[in-house]
Symmetry: C2
Subunit: 201 residues, 2 copies
DNA sequence: CGCTTTATGTTTACAGCGATAACATGAAGA
DNA sequence: TCTTCATGTTATCGCTGTAAACATAAAGCG
């Protein structure tokens, strides 16, 4: 007999054999752990342990670790989209509202570094930009709509696409550089770079 | 006795007990492996195996795995700086030369995804931007000089700094989005976004 | 030359990981 | 009530990073 750390033993008592909604519990525990851990340091076993369940129970709800991480992404994407919508609503529509979505993007990244990084490295096949369903893409749709409304009326689809990518690249680059510690996560820098935000020059 | 896969056994014969320059061999094997593996899938043991040496031999040259990875970063940074300098030299100085350094940056990232990502996540204390020694920062110095030469003469240090960050963020964001598959790694997109490259609008 | 030190290899071992297989429990439907 | 099946469990595997103890051979010194 070799106990490898998979078991729970006595903890089972205070819960009953079945959990109720283990899937949701795992996701929420995962998000919690990501607040002070990098993705690499997040183990499936630790998530299970946090919830008080054996490691292999996870496999009843997710085919593998990657699938669990993807579920965390979906939650994160919903949170990001929500933050952006709130930021825009608070500033009113138009140009300054658009700038605010960019700031919200960077702030979200800085506030949730591990989750944000996970979201950006874990992608649905095809990429976020051209996908068009799921909570993951609400943020993308918002970005494209905003840019469309700011471009001159005669703009081609290609111009719209390029302007979208440019805006996204700018905020995304700033976010990543701050996450990686290459640029200080300074509110002043965020403001300055997102002011005349994007492709309208 | 339990053989855990650490040993080399007969391979020792065809090499002699001592290697000669194991450190360099490990670095070059690591870079080679990173060409078709993500950083997460690169194990210290595999690097050692590739070189034909026991896993623990690595520890004679690097205190831990992270230190080995950092050595890979230094090599990568040197390569990136070189690519940028070549690109600029080929295009001549001035604005179009500057644009070319941006393109070289994105192209390097797309051509060496795992290495580039490693470089950007593994940072010297303080970040690349404000560091001022080592091969790692040649690229940064080049960027700042270029921006300085393009700004109006009366620009303040702060304006210079902001313009530097903005340019870097734009190319970096584009590079990351392409690496993550969020934007297709299309030469046309790279060209379009790096043309009126940066903060001169 | 021979002897000793030291750099650089080796094996062995361990705890933690993701994942599979076999078994246990208990809620739901017949 | 009996059976089925979703959802738990333990045991085990091969892999990882890393430490400790041991082996080899090159370098320095008499």
């Amino acid at each position: 007999m070799k106990n490898d750390g998979n078991s729970v033993n006595m903890a089972v008592v205070q819960r009953g054999y079945h959990h109720g909604d283990l899937r949701a519990a795992l996701v929420s525990a995962g998000l919690e752990l990501l607040k002070d851990r990098s993705v690499d340091d997040l183990s499936l076993r630790e998530v299970a342990r946090t919830v008080g369940v054996s490691a292999t129970a996870v496999y009843r709800h997710f085919p593998d670790k990657q699938a669990l991480l993807y579920a965390l992404c979906e939650q994160g994407a919903a949170q990001l989209a929500h933050a952006q919508q709130e930021a825009m609503a608070a500033a009113g529509d138009g140009k300054s509202g658009f700038d605010e979505t960019g700031r919200a993007y960077v702030r979200f990244a800085v506030a949730n570094p591990a989750l944000f990084r996970l979201m950006m490295t874990t992608r649905p096949p095809g990429g976020l930009l051209d996908a068009d369903e799921g909570a993951v893409n609400a943020a993308m749709r918002l970005l494209r709509q905003n840019i469309a409304s700011l471009l001159p009326p005669g703009a081609t689809d290609d111009e719209l696409r390029m302007a979208t990518i440019k805006s996204w690249a700018l905020v995304h680059g700033l976010a990543m550089l701050m996450l990686d510690g290459q640029v200080p996560a300074d509110e002043r820098i965020i403001d300055a770079l997102t002011r005349p935000f994007a492709g309208e020059c």
